[in-house]
């Protein structure tokens, strides 16, 4: 069995030295190229660099059908700064937003590139008759698409299985939405910050039972960017670099109807890969702050379990005890997450990574968690309930 090499053999330490976000909004006036440009420019500014200093660009974006452009990476390269440079786009469905900095990491760690700009963009609003319609085409074209599925079916089926397997109540899950939308009030980029109650969630429009309107993140446009450099460069650019110390990802098989949806085993696999690299043995004790992927409220709980921060079926209990509050023991989604900030798919995953970077740098402003933080984790999820990406960072 060939395994992951232990981290002592890794070629090069890689640091994050700058990041930028656009506003996340339901509809943005600017084109996808212009949105990418704004995020990239802000990241370069924070790093104190210019585009000419960058030698490679990594782009992340989810289905081409949203922006309405085939080979979207080619199109985005112009706004993202990938001009006459080594530039490519990575894609693992909804998990892309964290795969993009992972790819940026190996661009630098391999020695092929020295300063890398990582840009993730999504413009979901152009889709007609509704962006939701794009999701009919993500299913098996022969055995699933003829049933006219929509995306929310996926989440509803997984949520109900999770609820049934571990006897979890909807009101316990709704607390995630309450927490994240409230956290987003302190996030200047957020699309739908709000003070809501569990009651509000339970009374909101039923979309696909057990999923209701306030269980769900919105349709969004937005872009995010990050600058990654090697150790030598990092020390010259900043006194407070944040290091990428672990990366992991896993794709489970396509045949999701043929496996139990109660537990995301692929996430556990991805997390073990990243933890091994970062030397994390007891995730629930060693991780100080976490941004698990929360396109739906139950997903945050599901992912906290897959990340082994909570035991299977026990994340709701810890949530209720306040462990995941911004002032709790393991703050979860202090940014407000996708539920509060918005969900421009790939950009949302990179936003989560940037949130951890700002927490570790101590520049998260009003979003800054109370406890001192040393180790943070961001995670994204996607495909047909089969993909997860995990990144571990330290200051």
């Amino acid at each position: 069995m060939s395994g992951m090499k232990p981290n002592i053999y890794f070629n090069k330490r890689v640091a994050v030295v700058g990041a930028g976000l656009t506003l996340f909004r339901r509809r943005i006036w600017e084109t996808p190229q212009e949105m990418s440009w704004e995020a990239a420019r802000k990241a370069l500014d924070e790093a104190g660099l210019e585009l000419k200093d960058i030698d490679c660009v990594v782009i992340g974006s989810a289905p081409d059908a949203f922006d309405g452009i085939h080979m979207k990476g080619e199109y985005l390269s112009h706004g993202a700064g990938g001009i006459r440079k080594m530039v490519s786009r990575v894609f693992v469905g909804g998990a892309t937003g964290v795969m993009t900095p992972i790819a940026g990491w190996y661009h630098v760690a391999s020695g092929l590139c020295s300063k890398v700009l990582v840009v993730a963009e999504e413009k979901m609003s152009p889709g007609r008759p509704h962006p939701q319609a794009v999701f009919k085409y993500i299913w098996d074209p022969i055995t699933e698409k003829p049933l006219n599925p929509n995306l929310i079916w996926i989440f509803a089926m997984e949520m109900h299985r999770y609820m049934k397997a571990y006897n979890i109540k909807k009101e316990d899950i709704a607390l995630v939405s309450v927490k994240n939308k409230n956290n987003a009030i302190d996030n200047p980029y957020a699309q739908i910050p709000a003070k809501i109650t569990v009651e509000d969630v339970l009374k909101s429009e039923v979309l696909v039972w057990p999923v209701q309107l306030l269980d769900i993140s919105p349709v969004s446009d937005g872009a995010a960017a990050m600058v990654l450099v090697g150790e030598d460069q990092a020390r010259q650019l900043t006194d407070t670099p944040v290091w990428i110390e672990g990366v992991g990802w896993t794709l489970d098989s396509t045949g999701w109807p043929g496996r139990d949806l109660a537990y995301p085993r692929y996430l556990e696999h991805a997390a073990r890969m990243a933890y091994k690299m970062a030397g994390i043995e007891r995730p629930y004790k060693e991780i100080d702050v976490v941004e698990p992927y929360d396109p739906f409220d139950y997903k945050e709980l599901h992912h906290l379990e897959g990340l082994m921060i909570a035991k299977r079926g026990e994340a709701p209990k810890l949530l209720k005890e306040g462990v995941f509050d911004r002032n709790g023991d393991i703050p979860s989604s202090p940014s407000g997450g996708l539920l509060g900030v918005g969900n421009p798919i790939a950009a949302a995953g990179l936003m989560k990574t940037i949130s951890i970077y700002w927490q570790l740098k101590g520049t998260a402003g009003k979003m800054q968690v109370k406890k001192p933080v040393h180790t943070g984790v961001a995670q994204a999820w996607g495909d047909l309930m089969q993909a997860s990406t995990v990144i571990v960072m330290r200051n």
């Binding site: 069995m1 060939s2 992951m4 090499k5 890794f10 070629n11 090069k12 084109t31 289905p63 081409d64 059908a65 309405g68 452009i69 085939h70 080979m71 990476g73 080619e74 199109y75 390269s77 112009h78 990938g82 001009i83 006459r84 440079k85 080594m86 530039v87 490519s88 786009r89 990575v90 894609f91 693992v92 469905g93 790819a103 990491w105 190996y106 661009h107 760690a109 391999s110 020695g111 092929l112 085409y137 993500i138 074209p141 990366v247 992991g248 990802w249 896993t250 794709l251 489970d252 098989s253 396509t254 085993r265 692929y266 696999h269 991805a270 890969m273 495909d383 047909l384 089969q386 993909a387």
Partner: protein, 373 residues
């Protein structure tokens, strides 16, 4: 940077139609052959990472990477997708290995254009929606603009372009993957009507279905899988300024940037002396000549062609197995199709080769790989 070895290759298809298999079954067939070629490697246990190169609208599936893992042995393993040509995936694989993430990485790409009923419309859909899309009823117009300027700058004639077609289709006659190989004359090419001036339908490579799988290994472990590794000495890719109105026409700047990086990595100072075979994108006949110049293999590709240097026994054998004009264009597997040609060429005893791909209209993206035996 440590060298990375190619220890196994496998392919399936390379026919205009492959209706007998689904795209997933085609990927499986290519993978089985590659793993056998790599000394019977078990992908479930001995491969650290998997990379698939594909695009949603070629597959007809949104988030097509969902379908990547199972047929190549990558389920519940670190499998990912790069939206690009197979040679770009190859460079990502080199980065996986050199970062310390992996000792053995598999790269996969496939194309099933026969399943796409509206292929020209899909190419249009890749163009800028505000400025470029649908300005012409024929997506080849961008190649026409580029070809005209290239011909002016290098004093190339339509006979020169036709000569490339005749050469490559004839070279393909001995290649089992070359469905479109044939014996033609220059006048056969010139007599065809234009698709877009100066290109006739024979100047444009047709599409083909095919799947390719490549097994790469670090220098430390390569010999476990084969006694005859092929070494990747240099690899890179690049995009020009991608918008049509800002991109370079007439010359393949994307490939020049990629080649310069790859040569630097391979410590090659005079490419024309050190490279013994060129396997380069020729999906339009003029592109072979344009790409030769971008790769610094010759300053005057037209003269090289006229003097016979580009034939299999010339100084710069170019597409000696026929290139895309003979094999067809298997979408994102195109670069890997040229790579397989190069590997077979090296396995026959040649010393070195360069592989250079382009992603086709409307992109300005190319990738380069320098190989040695």
């Amino acid at each position: 940077m440590q060298r990375v070895a190619i220890v196994g290759i496998g392919w399936y298809g390379f026919r205009p139609q492959t209706k007998e298999v689904s795209f997933r079954e085609m990927m499986f067939e290519a993978a089985v052959r590659a793993y056998q070629d790599a000394g019977g490697i078990n992908p479930r246990e001995e491969v650290d990472t998997f990379i698939s190169c594909q695009e949603d609208f070629w597959e007809g599936i949104s988030i097509a990477d969902e379908f990547a893992p199972d047929p190549i042995g990558g389920a519940m393993r670190p499998t990912m997708t790069v939206d690009g040509d197979g040679l770009q995936c190859l460079t990502h694989a080199i980065m996986h290995i050199n970062s310390g993430l992996s000792d053995v990485t598999v790269v996969e790409a496939h194309g099933k254009p026969s399943d796409i009923l509206t292929l020209p419309d899909i190419v249009d859909f890749a163009m800028d929606p505000l400025y470029v899309r649908k300005v012409s009823p024929n997506y080849h117009f961008i190649a026409g603009l580029d070809a005209t300027l290239f011909m002016k700058e290098f004093s190339a004639t339509q006979e020169d372009l036709a000569t490339v077609v005749v050469k490559n289709k004839e070279n393909g006659l001995k290649n089992p993957r070359a469905s479109y190989a044939s014996k033609l004359s220059v006048s056969d090419v010139l007599e065809k009507p234009y698709v877009v001036y100066p290109l006739t339908e024979l100047d444009i490579a047709p599409y083909v279905d095919g799947a390719i799988n490549i097994v790469l290994a670090s220098e430390e472990v390569a010999r476990r899988y084969t006694d005859t590794p092929i070494w990747i000495e240099g690899a890179s890719f690049a995009t020009d300024s991608a918008n049509l109105e800002t991109a370079t026409l007439g010359k393949a700047l994307y490939l020049k940037i990629a080649a310069d990086n790859a040569y630097k990595m391979a410590k090659i100072e005079s490419p024309s002396k050190e490279i013994k075979g060129a396997f380069i994108d020729d999906r339009y006949s003029y592109k072979e000549l344009q790409h030769l110049e971008a790769l610094s293999l010759t300053k005057d590709p037209v003269k090289a062609l006229r003097e016979g240097q580009l034939y299999p026994d010339g100084d710069i054998p170019t597409n000696p197995l026929g290139g895309h004009l003979a094999e067809g264009v298997p979408l994102e597997a195109s670069g890997l199709a040229l790579l397989i040609d190069a590997i077979e060429y090296l396995r026959q005893g040649k010393e070195s080769a360069i592989v250079a791909s382009w992603r086709g209209v409307p992109t300005f993206t190319g990738a380069v790989t320098v190989l040695k035996r």
